[in-house]
């Protein structure tokens, strides 16, 4: 069991409240996944700046002074915002890869959570409420966000085993279920040059979708191909810079409910997660069909 929540805003006036809305949705599904929690939140893009989110098990040691060292190393100002065990490093898009490489060199214990124009990723072990609190999720704004509460089955309860997994720029994936052919798919993806941080089955699904999109497929097509190639139980919710997608395996044992109004599209593992959204009484609420790809783009 795991819990998934997702919110894709259509109404810009709700953007400042995105974090607060997602936070409440996430906490409502605590009993589906009390091991760990994580969120991916997408903010404004198109200003020529990008972000790298890094996590460190030793934030007090690793983060102080990191911005100055990185600025010097890459030759461009790097702005750092520290939130608990995570730091978001912002700089010009052209220098994003350089920043990522410099982080690994300067702080070998730090892990890259994700990078891109718009994405920030936060995840930790602990109850969803505690995780949301430590990162100040309720105060964050943005255009769309995905959250996950984990009850681990396929790999250890660690920060890196928490969802979302990000395996490509501005991409992230969360999963409820378990995959049975992830070892084979991992081997194939490693041969194609993909790198893996964990033994987790979901990371393989994320990398699979990233690999398909790198081959030129759009989000919808990439999700469609998971139905052919991934074996097991899955509800995937996927984010890209301007998109939000959902797919369920043909058996669809794992629960899912969606809601759409003029203001938003929302996903929840259960209706409980959607029950307090504005205008939910008048929303179109439905259970996504098996083997059917749903996606929305801004």
């Amino acid at each position: 069991m795991c819990g998934i929540v997702g919110l894709f805003l259509k109404d810009k006036s709700l953007e400042p409240q995105l974090g607060a809305m997602l936070s409440e949705m996430l906490v409502s599904l605590t009993d589906r996944g009390p091991d760990s929690a994580g969120i991916a939140i997408y903010g404004a893009s198109g200003d020529g700046k990008g972000k790298v989110t890094v996590q460190s098990p030793f934030p007090d040691r690793d983060f102080p002074g990191l911005d100055a060292e990185l600025s010097k190393q890459v030759g461009e100002p790097v702005k750092m915002t520290v939130r608990s065990t995570h730091a978001v490093l912002e700089t010009g898009l052209a220098k994003l890869d350089a920043v990522r490489e410099a982080v690994s060199e300067l702080r070998p214990d730090a892990r890259i959570m994700g990078m891109g124009d718009a994405i920030e990723i936060y995840k930790e072990v602990g109850l969803p409420e505690a995780v949301a609190e430590r990162f100040g999720l309720a105060k964050m704004g943005g255009t769309h966000a995905i959250g996950h509460t984990r009850m681990a089955t396929e790999s250890a309860v660690t920060t890196m085993g928490a969802h979302p997994f990000s395996t490509g720029p501005d991409q992230c994936l969360v999963h409820n279920g378990s995959l049975s052919n992830h070892s084979n798919i991992r081997r194939e993806l490693i041969q194609k040059g993909m790198k893996f941080e964990t033994e987790n089955d979901t990371e393989v699904a994320a990398a699979y979708v990233s690999s398909k999109m790198a081959d030129g497929l759009n989000l919808g097509e990439a999700l469609e191909s998971t139905l052919d190639d991934l074996d097991g139980f899955f509800n995937f919710v996927v984010g890209t810079k301007n998109g939000f997608g959902v797919v369920r395996d043909p058996i669809s044992c794992k629960p899912a409910v969606m809601a759409e109004t003029d203001q938003y599209v929302a996903f929840g593992s259960e209706y409980r997660a959607l029950a307090n959204l504005p205008g939910i009484e008048g929303a179109k609420v439905w259970e996504p069909e098996p083997s059917t790809v749903y996606f929305w783009e801004h």
Binding site: S252, R272, V285, W286, E287
Partner: protein, 242 residues
Amino acid sequence: MKHDVVDVMDKVASKRVFDLSKTTLRELNQALHEVREGSNEVAWEVQNPKGSHAVAAGIDAPISVDVRGNVGYYCAGMNSQGTVTVHGSAGPGVAENMMSGSVIIKGDASQYAGATGRGGLLVIEGDASSRCGISMKGIDIVVGGNVGHMSAFMAQSGHLVVLGNAGDALGDSIYEAKLFVRGTVKSLGADCVAKEMRPEHIAKLQELLDRAGIKDVKPEEFTRYGSARKLYNFNIDNAAAY
């Protein structure tokens, strides 16, 4: 007809109202379980369920419960004698293992509605998703819309009536439950076949439609499905199907 009776009861008896934004689900279910035979607490209302699990599960008295809003997992599970009406949609496992009485869902129901039900009537006015009536053992289920894949999987007895369409693998490995589908069936499961509608089936279906309060639909518009009884005993010719 049943609904009219309930409406009259609303007026004559005081209704016990539980607002789940103010009282806990445990208090509601405890109070429902404490109703004794002959009690005059026959009408109940539940407000603000907001997707809660196991709302009004385990009723064992001839009472009527109106739930105003959407419910989560296992609403009205194990119901015996009660009439539970959800004025909204239901999550997975609604009326699971119902013994008797009736459960009416005004909206849609999620997966495995009425699973393993032994008796009573489950009416879903909207759509039911996958595995509706899985392993049903005597319950009658009437769905106003469509049912999803693998509905009536291993269904043993009782009736599943679908006014809309059925998804893939309807009635897979079915025993003696009777299925009536008015629309299309995407595919039939192993050992499930279309069968002739004899007068006794027309009469039974008419009775089920009447009990579910459905008018303007004729039993003759349905096709009956049931077991070909080829999987009952091991037969070497069927080895591929086992």
